[in-house]
Symmetry: D2
Subunit: 365 residues, 4 copies
């Protein structure tokens, strides 16, 4: 149960609504003696922070994180780290006229059906604002991973398709990713998306996106067959992010068209007494356990449901209404999913690492 | 932890290797007073049973299930139901020549890296033979669902793509699904696949497949935000099945190319005081909670890794070897994933139903 | 895992150190539509609050609780309730001279051994200050219980022995319990304890105590055999409270001296078509499941380890030192365990109620 | 949830009724590469086996355990170990005349209330027969502990009081424990108990008992504050055993009468750069974490509820009935609780060890 918790040994529990007093989490199972500061977390939070370009929500939140516990003289104590982020820029009045209506594509109607009550202000608990908490917890996970492992774990995501527009893989560079407002690794594509998305935004519309995420230096041996396979845990992690409707690992859905002969990643001895794989169709995971190759996953974020264009819906009396969602919204919510996904993957990797060390023993990369 | 368990309130824990004495599971959290017999389970097991056509493994297993506990005078008692399926047709010698080699595409090398030991006979614990247990547990889940709910929960899956060959949606009928060896809903496609797959099989090769799964009559309100969203739990469930490398919900990856205007499922009042959605891009799940529409998911099963064609690999001394996987293998392991996926979805739905009733109260459809 | 969480469906996760910025918790799994306010929680917190008599710590904490999430327009939403209590009166300097020493009877040395680091200020995470959080979570549990059940659940505890001094059962009245600084139900005993304990306090010493806790109107059928029996869950709950070293249910350790003939609680029909038990040696629990009789448990709280009298110990260099624990300490920490235990029992009962309703169905009293 | 499971990383899930086909369990989270055989388990099972003296049930069960999975070529593989014990000597007819009556002191009435159904044959799931499974799982835990740790973990229990008859501590020797039918460490007491208990047995009555359990060589640092303190986990473990109604750690309830000055275990440097405690009132646990001293716990097992003497009760129509429990019963069920408790403690220690190694790192003794 505990549906607001994620992880098993390294486990965080989150709270907070879009327009409540604060959002935050408690991170439990943190190994002791790891250096951590509010600044370490803030750096990652700032990547996700709203209001940084016209392509993301204009809500002004500093997302300033405060550590309330679990860190003593700059080091983790092994006890729970509570993180708190105050909500500052709640324009609740934007929502007063939809308090009684169900926005299509949103959780309004399902929350109402499930709970019989909902905090309608900005989506309440269902708001993507919650994802800031994931980024904060992920920052701790990264610090712990790099404290424990010799080689740094590098988890990087990038938007590879926005609307129907795909990047050109030949242009891709991780160095480009932080140089444009889209976390896009293809400089040319990013330029084109800027014009395309601005037009869509002005039309009061929104778009979906596909993000690719790659984790490097992941130790061999992570993952817990049978029901907590690494691919399964990654799928759960990414699919728990708001608006995500699909996840694939390695060659993913393209594997349907391949034969076994082409899909099997061959193994070869290398020159250092180790081995390598000729290809990585498996996305770095075989039988639910990491191979040591890069972990590769992709996920789809549906178009932002909050749009200015009018759609049909109903109100709480089940009467037909027209609805346009005002407020300050991302025309492509997929963009800000990039740092969120990186954090969820870092947490998943750390949690699996600790699980491995609990059952089996020390693991290194 | 407990990586061999699945579910939270309705929870099963599985055991067993491909060539061990038996496979089975303990199902805990079963509501009492539900009629259940070995026959109820056997019917579903028989759908997954090997040896039923030339397109699946020729291993002869009766997969006869035995209930060891938790049922008294034909009814569940609320106590754990232990299920046991003896392994009968272990041809372990098929594996003797690969005991020291790592089959590409298989879990051989990752199991060895993780555990330092592996039961190499038929893949040991990583064998798809384990999925029989899921089907058995799913049979209990279905009985419980239909005991609790007014309308029967109908969970049906079908292969919609085999290799590069897609079905024609216009030909699709659920009635066709059990009439061909592929669980394919398109009569014409099934005919073509038969020839195509037989050729591939004779070449010592294998193919991937995409399966679509639809659950009808699912009550509104299932799913546990934030981290146990229904889509997230379905993704975890399906991605835990052997060889699955991708999962999508509703319009899935196609949502990337849609605008918010097109992707938002509009809501309309119906004539009975209720409401309906104009479309189902969301696959019956909004904000991680079921809408009452059919739940729709798709997943990709990679080509069977065990092929007769020769591939490069290494042995335990990390020497280069050539490897061909003899034994009795499915040319398309995606086919038998159909009843397995149905069971995993039934279990996921029941578990979420019980979770809802625990936290919130009675739910009906 | 998640060792800072308690409960399964109704689950709270706590954080905070004695001299950190704040303590608090996130309560997950709260049923929706339950009226709850900060005042509801504050009332119970005030019972546990330090500084209310000379027999408890003189630390001045208002223990003012703030609800940060999960309540909308006065009602629970089904989403996590975050509770925050600021630390106000941290006199950290009291601890500077023991930062390097291990106080006997305290967790200092074991925390250091386990984590390699500890927040020595006031015991850090091991401080009984953490128990305020339990009381706050328990206040929510009580509100939920009384929202769900017809008859109010009444959970009451009282100190029945302080040092060697036992109450006289014939004098006992629940009405007395809140009229003296000891939560003692025997007016005469309380008078005597006042003199006795004051003397001990002035000598720089401390005492243990035994508390009895009784829960009335608990529905029949609570408890989850085999490993989550209601007695087992109560034992876990009470034994997790600081300084508790023993728990017994019903006639407890006295049952050793009884024969089966005397210990078996006979059952008789009553005049309303129901039944009753002649005795309650079982403390309201048979086979781990509640009988409908009052749940009766007792637990021992060891003497406060922080005493002004000098004891032998070691410092971090493992050198012999003499140690006296200054600071503001309860001469009998068992007193303030009373509201803490009540809360833990309320949480345990609610959690079991929700578990029952999840697996089996509606339960009433 | 999962109330038939015990443990977190090392976790076993049990099944089976007294008169069903079999009892058994699945042990998950077992570290790989540990030598284990059916014989290792059988040795411990045989200590608990019924029918070994006139002071325990005369039911003839060989309790022959079979390993179905998770062990390959004599070593654990890291995958679940399924254990199966067939029921052989079910004299179900002994129970036919009480199928409709509720035996006082038993779970009959509470199972019926909770589940609306019960397997009345021999108590069904509530039978102490289930404890054989705990012993089997504990045998695996011990093998793993002694594989992982340098010094062997020694967990030994002994009956220290039977009825009103206490042992003389001065006579106590662990060497005596296995030399009499009572697991009693006091030779003289055992002789006296033999006469005393035989008389009670012939009268158709039964008695309670207190058992002391001591674990030696437990590493420092075990236990998970706040809610999974080692004392709390031990209390949960022991109180989950059938008929246990009280648990205490170290000096336990006697601590009520001690002052802090007397109860605080002083710490002294030893001559090897280490330290020792002057006393062990804490039972080897401070702040919920092991100190390295022997872990000491005691628990009370109530008198066997199945007695031949007549008692009042009701039947399923809530009519008054007289009831005598025929069948083959232990006059003191506390005796056979000895190996069961040892197993539960071994499991608890191992589970905490693995949890520690998961969060924090390697631990040794």
């Amino acid at each position: 149960m505990a549906s607001n918790s994620f992880g098993h040994i390294f486990k965080f529990t989150s709270f907070g609504e879009s327009h409540g007093k604060a959002i935050g989490c408690i991170v439990d199972g943190v190994p002791p003696m790891v250096s951590i500061s509010e600044k370490d977390i803030q750096i990652l939070l700032d990547r996700r922070k709203p209001g940084q370009s016209k392509f993301v929500t204009q809500r002004k939140e500093n997302d300033k994180v405060e550590i309330l516990s679990g860190v003593f003289e700059g080091k983790t104590t092994g006890h729970p780290i509570a993180l708190n982020i105050k909500n500052e820029d709640q324009r609740t009045k934007d929502y007063s006229d939809i308090s009684d209506k169900f926005r299509p594509g949103h959780a309004d109607i399902t929350y109402q059906e499930k709970y019989g009550i909902r905090d309608y202000r900005g989506g309440g608990r269902s708001s993507a604002r919650e994802t800031a908490v994931r980024v904060a917890a992920g920052a701790i996970a990264l610090k712990v991973l790099n404290h424990k492992l010799k080689k740094p774990i590098v988890v990087r995501a990038s938007v590879i398709q926005m609307g129907p527009n795909k990047i050109n893989r030949e242009n891709f560079s991780w160095n480009e990713v932080n140089k444009n407002p889209f976390f896009c690794g293809d400089h040319t594509a990013a330029k084109e998306w800027e014009i395309w998305l601005d037009k869509l935004r002005k039309e009061g519309n929104s778009t979906g996106a596909i993000i690719e995420i790659v984790a490097k230096n992941v130790p061999k041996g992570l993952g817990s067959p049978i029901y907590k396979k690494l691919d399964s845990q990654i799928a759960e992690a990414l699919m728990s992010i708001n608006a995500v409707k699909g996840v694939e690992i390695g060659s993913g859905f393209d594997l349907a068209s391949l034969t076994g002969f082409d899909a099997n990643d061959e193994i070869f001895p290398d020159n250092n007494g180790g081995y390598y794989f000729g290809t990585n169709h498996s996305g770095g995971i075989l039988g639910g356990i990491s191979t040591g190759q890069p972990i590769v996953a992709r996920f789809i974020v549906k178009p932002t449901s909050s749009i200015l264009s009018e759609k049909n819906s109903i109100n709480s009396k089940i009467e037909s209404v027209k609805i346009r969602t005002k407020g300050r919204h991302d025309p492509c919510v997929g963009i800000r999913a990039v740092p969120v996904a990186e954090s969820m993957i870092a947490i998943t990797i750390l949690d699996q690492l600790l699980q491995h060390e609990g059952q089996i023993g020390k693991l290194s990369n």
